[in-house]
Amino acid sequence: MKPETCAKIFSQRETVKGHFLMIVKAPVSFREAIPGQFIMVRLEGGNSPFLSRPFSIYSIYSRGDDTFVEIFYKVVGKGTDAFSRLREGASLDILGPLGRGFDVPASCRKVALVAGGIGVAPLSFLAQRCGEDIPGTEVICYLGAGSSEALAGLDRLEKICSTVEISTDDGSRGYHGSVTGLLKRDMDLYADDDTRIYSCGPRPMLRGLQELLKGRPPGTCQVSLEERMACGIGACLGCVARIRSDGEKGGMVRVCKEGPVFDIDRVEFGE
């Protein structure tokens, strides 16, 4: 059993404008979490916001007997705004870890992470684990944002990745343009079989990445998708995306259960 539990906020702070790093004390079961998995978070009591909100796990760590989960989020609406006002000691209902995370083959020698905005959250956890679990693997992160002030999660990435390449839409820092444009420049660095690409970010970015990777063998790249969720455990069928099964026509697949991580070549992004 891994029921919903009441978790206390250990700390919370704004890192870059509108982006918050929240640390909650979680049940031990969270120690098994793998990068790409997520948790459902809800304010205790009350009906506003009503549904739980999904957030990727940004990191997990233990101190003594205690387990801590970090989530890193951007304020975009009612729920995230309410979370951002909570202080240390406040309680949240949390459920997880949920979903299927990223697969990193042990033979992998080079990892490229492609993060758009707050999509950095699951990728940062992945970078951290690659460093711990497959030492010697080179982890290069491509981080894109609107402008230099919005480069969320950069400090940590610089500590855990071999290299961090930056792009901004307004050119205020790094490459001027999209993060996929930046990756395109370096594509021949990622031609080998022992290379894997992982990504999370806005849909147009993921669609661009899929385009860029056309012709690469299946399994080269995995992405974490975002859809609105109600239950987070596969029961409501609210969170589906159209996913192809091995080259066949796509079907409606639950992002919370079969995902949120999928091979990029199987995702039908639509128009």
Binding site: M1, K2, P3, E4, R42, N47, S48, P49, F50, L51, S52, D93, L95, E227, R228, M229, A230, C231, G232, I233, G234, A235, C236, L237, G238, C239, V240, A241, R242, G251, M252, K257
Partner: protein, 304 residues
Amino acid sequence: MNVKMGVDIGGVTLKNPVMTASGTFGYGEEYADYLDIGRLGAIVVKGLSLSPREGNPPPRIIETASGMLNAVGLQNVGVEEFIDKKLPYLRTIGSVVVANIFGESVEDYVKVADTLSNAKGVDLIEVNISCPNVRKGGIAFGSDPVLAGEVTRAVKSASGLPVIVKLTPNVTDITKIARSVEAAGADAVSLINTLTGMSIDIEKRIPHLKNITGGLSGPAIKPVALRMVWETVNAVSIPVVGLGGIMNASDALEFLIAGARAVQVGTANFINPSIAVDIIDGIENYLSDRGIGDINDLIGTLRI
């Protein structure tokens, strides 16, 4: 104090009056990690059709004030795969299993009901009549007393199992439909299904749901559901199963006091996946605190 919690629906005994509502509890297995499914009075599975259905394109859900809209579009694995892949697990759980069914024609309903009646492990059939009848210009079976009676009669004669007919609230007088399905042989009615609603993204000026409209559920609909249950209890003599916005034991008790023989917990399962057992415990505590030894002595005791 030892409280008797068992109730009877169409000759089937539920160990307690708490069921989980169709479409909110998957096929049961999704919740195995979160609660002891064997404690439930009954589990109602996701609506089943003759062939698998893909459902509507996303976005399918949007939160609203104290509730949510959904336009899942009855995505399901189809009755055959349900029997092969989902029912074996349900046979092991030790709770009553209710198969919720729907169709686009009376013949569809009949075929699904017939197939399920022959599959060991299903105890009751719940007929969702909120679906459009494609042969009759898309009017919902459940919004017309004649069509509702027709589909009930057909399912009853095809099925060897007791039949609950699930009513839609999107009608002017739900008691008319309830009386009609009772006359057609329904063993019980359950209500309410979702209320049709809509929500708009004012930045993009598009509907939040790809399907434009969706079904409203959650605490926002509870007062409406309770009123309709009470009216229906007064209109028919078959058992009434009450649902709509039940979030805790006191909500469930309101429905029982209004006369519902059993209740279903729906959207609340999304908020807390083990809520159904908390509700069972809460009802039991309420009864024992008040010295009521049998749940049936509470049902329908509203004082007016």
